[in-house]
Point group: C2
């Protein structure tokens, strides 16, 4: 079966999302380089509109919908960053947004999402099923689902971050991104390998939410019933139907880090690079910082995927 | 008397410092814009090498010195950011650096400076005079003083941040920078007014270290005996001999903010823009955030001058 997207879908997304997504800066840092070995280029999606890369995929899908479809509204479910991205894109096009969020989502993510004016429905992620709740709203409104990762337009939109990164750096030995449902990782792999065939692509996953790691070992999608990690954006329990085949074909491996290593990476990025990265976004930086990459990599592009973290949480570090 | 530097000195500095200073990103942010009125462009010198704009001036002076002069070493005094910049530039050219630092300088600034290998001499800033200590080292070594602000090459180097900012944004209604001794503000004013004659230039100063504000009122340099503010980089007691005439001629006004407002600005920048800015660097952002600008400004460039702050200090916010 062919993969869900081709590289030209990422190029098309880059043109489509221009009104909504920023071209974020690429930073490098001496302190990080000397600690970590390879020369590291950070694509700072924590500085993206909405504080995360998610606006790329959400706006790619929403900006592709005709007016009569938008008029019936948009429905989604998300622990936070995708929710905020959908709310921003809906506000931009004047569509009503219905967002299903876990009641224990980080407060800052809930508040930031709410500030863009969507309808928010909360649920208990241990006892309720978000797809069921979203399904009921879809049935009632006739709206359109904008899923958090498993859709060709979402995958293509997320790939635009790495397209911009490589446009700035030129060829790199490797690319590493966080992996939750696999939207960012699959879109990144598609475009990175199209731009430079020799580039090695890695996923970075928390030990407590290692569904993609296990799925690659098993050769098929595995579900982790109750993901447990501080990286709240990566708690999706199972790789997507569309994302996983891309990951299996194009990603060399998924590398695991502990919550303690993630915390250290958040602190390192804040202290030495002066940027705030949320735990989910710092997972690939933790892989580099703790020397978990295979040997032979001299240059690497790291996607710092988001920066939405409660200050109270941060103060505990 | 003519001003200490002309705009072409800033252009020359931009070329000279290229091996050492990064071209830092310019960020803008919807959250800040909607809170604050004018559209704001942030020049992120907190993301600069050494975590502050100071590398621009220090490297402009040090890279202009001939080898036989460098061989006798470099001497400076600084509460932190200039110290680190001098240490980095000296390491780059292979010169010995002697740095006089207050014993109560922020720990992170002291450690970061030390990591580049200079000789550090500490002193008590309430009972000892840093110029006297530096003078003794200069006499003993025959080295060269790299003062923190009152030197044409330092002023010209600091001006390169605003040169890059305007190169990216085009014409702006106004520019605002922090003011300590006036190196950054004077260099910025020289180049901003040369690029766009109509641009309005402002300084931002802490209430507890308002020597430039008082000096402008008096029409001559006034000394504040014991500056008291959390903005540790702006505690210099008196505007410079070379910087003050530039400030008096080209700067519209110096605007004051309280320590509480500075703390709020640091938090706002961290939470909404995902960047770590130290208190001194957040002073102009506090001016904008608390609506202290005169009316009629629709676009403004803000220099976020540095990001070196202890995490323990930050946790108190």
């Amino acid at each position: 079966m062919p993969l869900a997207i081709r590289p030209d879908a990422v190029h098309a997304a880059a043109a489509r999302i221009r009104p909504l997504a920023r071209r974020t800066p690429v930073l490098n840092n001496d302190a990080f380089d000397s600690e970590a070995g390879p020369r590291v280029f950070f694509k700072c999606e924590n500085l993206q509109r909405g504080g995360a890369f998610k606006i790329r995929g959400a706006s790619n899908l929403i900006l592709s919908l005709p007016a009569d479809v938008l008029a019936r509204g948009i429905v989604t479910y998300s622990s936070g960053n995708h929710a905020q991205a959908v709310a921003i894109a809906c506000k931009h096009v004047g569509a009503r947004a219905h967002i299903v969020m876990p009641e224990d989502a980080p407060r800052s993510k809930m508040e930031a999402t709410r500030s863009h004016g969507p309808d928010i429905v909360t649920y208990n992620r241990f006892t309720e099923n978000r797809e069921t709740i979203a399904g009921a709203i879809l049935k009632e409104t006739g709206g359109t689902l904008v899923p958090p990762f498993d859709h060709p337009l979402i995958m293509a939109g997320q790939g635009t971050a790495v397209l911009e990164l490589l446009d700035e750096t030129g060829p790199l030995d490797a690319i590493i991104t966080p992996v939750g449902g696999g939207g960012l990782l699959s879109g990144s792999a598609i475009i990175a390998r199209a731009q430079y065939h020799a580039v090695r692509v890695f996923g970075a996953e928390p030990e407590g939410a290692n569904d993609t790691f296990l799925s690659l070992q098993a050769g098929t999608q595995v579900t982790v019933a109750h993901p447990d990690t501080i990286a709240d954006g990566l708690r999706s329990p199972r790789p997507g139907e569309l994302t996983f085949p891309v990951v299996r074909e194009l990603v060399e491996s998924v590398i695991l880090v502990s919550d303690a290593e993630i915390r250290e990476a958040v602190k390192f990025l804040l202290l030495h690079m002066k940027i705030l990265v949320e735990p989910s976004g710092a997972v690939p930086a933790a892989v580099v910082l703790f020397h978990k990459l295979p040997p032979g990599i001299r240059t690497i592009g790291v996607v710092l995927s988001g920066g939405n973290v409660d200050l109270e949480e941060l103060a505990k570090y």
